[in-house]
């Protein structure tokens, strides 16, 4: 009853093909966007913007980038953070070396650069598969951070290889306050998720899924493997690159190559495992979990009597629980948190009946 699709007919092909075919979905999305763009800036405070909402949005976008590659195209990658680093440093350099280049353009060019780098490291994917592919992405991970530290040019000869955010102005409007940075991030992320959602239901997205399920079979039915896999790497790199520059510019403000290390790659992989491989919504759920879970845990530890858990142990404990959760998710809910949402929707559709 709550989620009833009865009586909603498409009367044109365009109606059949639209992104959200159900009225409820469209209203819910419009409501959510209005809430995020209009209500949240009034309701939230600086702590929420800087420490929770911005990292949440950026990590969702990074999750989307990896999900395109791993969840949809089935190519396991442990180099996400490298592509984020390439995006961040490229966007910084484009802004620095081409004065007058608009901020959004340098973000875009940063994404394109990351896409090109991702293609280079994706080239072996045609010849090597599965675990062996991890090596290629790990090579990206180590090579990129080495190159960014080694060659001072990338960080404009900063002694410790740190880059700082350029002035965040678009068409003369200043976005450098916490609210402004939140809105800027939200705008970019919303636009890219729209693109991503459309990508995965396009011909390309369907090809990705065919390659994921079995690439030999996909080749047999005439899907060009090289093009499909490389496009997966390129688009994944593009999304990750933009996520990287947002991470550097709107979240941290200053960042060094070390900020994009292997642990960041693992973090993004965990986001999509927990959120749901091959799901768009899952990226948000996984990122929310990733941002909120440590906060929750430290609050819980704070609520316990003093001395029961000392702060040094908290980190180890957190690591342990995280590992356990990953395994639990893989066993109990391999489709992640997104699957829980789907179940809820099926329930709501029949409510108040059971079957």
């Amino acid at each position: 009853m709550l989620y009833n699709e009865a009586g909603q007919f498409s009367t044109s092909y365009a109606g059949e093909r639209r992104l959200f075919r159900l009225r409820q979905d469209r209203y819910a999305l419009a409501g959510l966007l209005a809430f995020a763009f209009i209500a949240v800036p009034y309701l939230g405070n600086d702590y929420w913007f800087s420490a929770i909402l911005i990292p949440f949005l950026v990590l969702s976008l990074a999750g989307l980038g990896l999900n395109l590659l791993t969840g949809y195209a089935g190519q396991l990658s442990l180099g996400s953070a490298a592509f984020m680093a390439v995006g961040a440093f490229a966007a910084y350099n484009f802004g620095l070396r081409l004065p007058g280049l608009p901020l959004l353009a340098s973000l875009f060019l940063g994404g394109v650069t990351a896409a090109l780098v991702a293609v280079v490291f994706g080239l072996p994917s045609l010849r090597i598969k599965g675990f062996y592919l991890i090596v290629s992405t790990l090579a990206a991970q180590f090579f990129v951070s080495w190159a960014l530290t080694k060659f001072g040019w990338f960080s404009n000869d900063n002694a410790s290889g740190v880059i700082s955010a350029p002035p965040l102005t678009i068409f003369g409007v200043d976005f450098s306050s916490p609210v402004g940075r939140y809105l800027l991030t939200l705008g970019v992320v919303a636009a890219l998720f729209w693109l991503g959602k459309n990508l995965v239901r396009s011909e390309l997205g369907r090809n990705w899924m065919a390659v994921r399920d079995m690439d030999t079979a996909a080749a047999v039915i005439g899907i060009p493997l090289l093009k499909t896999k490389l496009l997966a790497f390129a688009l994944s790199g593009f999304f990750l690159g933009i996520a990287g520059s947002l991470w550097a510019f709107t979240y941290l403000g200053t960042v060094e190559p070390h900020g994009f290390d292997l642990n960041r790659s693992f973090q993004i992989l965990f986001i999509i495992i927990i959120g749901g491989l091959g799901s768009i919504l899952g990226n948000f759920l996984g990122a929310a979990f990733m941002v909120l879970f440590p906060l929750l845990l430290s609050n819980l530890a704070g609520a316990l009597p003093v001395g029961l858990i000392d702060p040094g142990q908290l980190e180890n404990l957190q690591k342990f629980i995280f590992g356990a959760l990953i395994i639990a998710f893989l066993i109990k809910e391999p489709e992640g948190l997104a699957r829980l949402w789907q179940r809820f929707r099926e329930r709501a559709r029949l409510w108040p009946l059971r079957h």
Partner: protein, 293 residues
Amino acid sequence: MEFFFEVLIGGLLAGVMYSLVAIGFVLIYKASGVFNFAQGSMVLFSALTFVSLHERGVPFWLAFAVTLAAMVVIALLVERFVLRPLVNRSPITLFMATLGLSYMIEGAAQALWGAQVHGLELGVSDEPLALGGVLLSQFDLFAAGTAAVLVTALSLLFSKTRIGLSLRAVADDPLAALAVGIRLQRIWVVVWAVAGFVGLVAGLLWGARVGVQFSLSLVVLKALPVLIIGGFSSIGGAIVGGLIIGASEKLAEIYLGPVIGGGLENWFPYVLALLFLLVRPAGLFGERAIERV
């Protein structure tokens, strides 16, 4: 030229240390098809447990036995709570589960024993030894000797014992092994326990070399390219791969480093492994996968 040989042999011996970690991977991969990312944290856990016990006055062999028992317990737990529920799932899923497992083991190791750096003294001096005009580290020779003993013991285990025979059967064809009555789950426990033992030996040698600390779990990243070159399912391959990586890494650092900038030992093995893969997609000794639609 003498310098070249010194670098080469030093690299080869360092490569043996990589092989030690890689052998643990190979054992598990052969018997259960799991790419065990947690091998590095098993190295860390065993070394940390051993050192902490030893520092508290437990004699060497007792500490060794207790640590080994702990590794067997881990193997039992892993089989019961990770491998068994995930049976028949895709290899990628199992890989990600071992990623979670590595977080758990690292968290547990540091929660139990703390995060400070421990020194470890195995009673082998690290003074260089002059052999035929080439300076060699005694410790490296000792490590190479240990590795040789370990590999011999493992190959005896595989070829002469009943359990080794069933291990080989499982590696060859798990379904056929089940059909003739081999208990797959027990095999998994055995093989994880043996990998734990290999991890302990590797942990002690690495720990004596670089100190027992968190970065020990990162040796897994050194072992990966070794596995790639040698192939995931061959112990001999792990040794050869380790030697190739160790030697070429050191030579590259000496001869290539000045040209394109030093510190390339982090990524050079990976690029080398990648080049190998482009020529031989299943490694030097790996089994070539046959794909059917």
